[in-house]
Symmetry: C2
Subunit: 186 residues, 2 copies
């Protein structure tokens, strides 16, 4: 999916600044996708130049102006068009282009070169990390204003449920099978 489609999609949830879009990537989207400031800001500028979004500058005393972008009719049309095209091409190729770079799996892969004690700590930390993630996905309380819109998306409950189920499976598997990675019998 192009960065333009993605930014338009996030702006379709409501007007937002580049900084707030980044907050979505750091927050609720962090486990699925991310874009850097170096991508977000130029993309928004280009979208504005081509009238896919409009921009209102809110001058703030002494902070840089907050530039709040609103998606236009033209932008909504482009977004929907692109999404349909993406969906069709994924169907045609049968390839979803999901890209994973997991440092954790690489560490597992080469675990035979890492002392059992160190690997043990790594796995303990991973379990803690996954438990935190699980809590995050199951948490249903209030969230900061700019993240509210995405939380309330119907598709997001589907995704959160899926993520929770996957993490639970991962945790169970690790607790049951981590002994397989041991090199020496203590």
């Amino acid at each position: 999916m192009q960065k333009e489609t993605l930014c338009l999609g996030l702006l379709s949830l409501g007007p937002r600044s580049g900084y707030e879009i980044k907050q979505m990537f750091e927050g609720p989207l962090s486990d699925f996708y991310s874009l850097s400031f170096g991508t977000i800001y130029p993309t928004l500028n280009n979208l504005q130049a081509d009238k896919y979004v409009s921009c209102k500058q809110h001058s703030q005393s002494k902070k840089p102006d907050k530039k709040v972008y609103t998606i236009t009719k033209k932008g909504m049309d482009l977004m929907k068009d692109n999404l349909l095209g993406d969906a069709s091409s994924y169907i045609r190729s049968g390839n979803f282009g999901d890209q994973i770079k997991s440092e954790f799996f690489l560490l597992l892969l080469f675990s035979k070169y890492i002392p059992d004690e160190t690997m043990n700590t790594v796995l303990n930390e991973r379990v803690l990390y996954l438990r935190q993630k699980l809590e995050q996905f199951k948490y249903d309380g209030p969230v900061p204003g700019n993240l509210d819109a995405i939380r309330n998306e119907k598709s997001v409950s589907f995704i959160r449920g899926l993520a929770s189920a996957l993490i639970e499976t991962g945790l169970n598997y690790m607790e049951k099978n981590r002994h397989l990675l041991k090199k020496k019998i203590n």
Copy 2:
């Protein structure tokens, strides 16, 4: 993990060419990590220049010479050092740096702009794709020579078991909950 550590790690399983390293990324590693030719070849050249690997050219009639790299003692030492450093820094930060960019999740996220019929086909294709992946991870028969070493790694059975469990969970969840994504009652 640096590309150097990763290439050294793969060469620690046995001597290999750059092309064969790429085959590992396209094959058994494709779901966890990947590097392009544009990264692999320069990395191998640099590792050779610094004596972390040695190289034997096998001249092949009319094909380019096959350059088979072998990890040196110096290379093994660097790899182990780097792996320990990586493990320690992951433990310290509690952040595993896993990076996911999932086109499928983005499509789900914006599914309300995509017709039910199209999304239905997308989900059907995803189920087929996951079933294929599941078969791949469960398959235990013979594999091409250059992929044999990685298949026989003890850590790889752990990873394959984990991947299988995760995919099964994902498939079950999708079959049970895909109706939640529907916008209209047919």
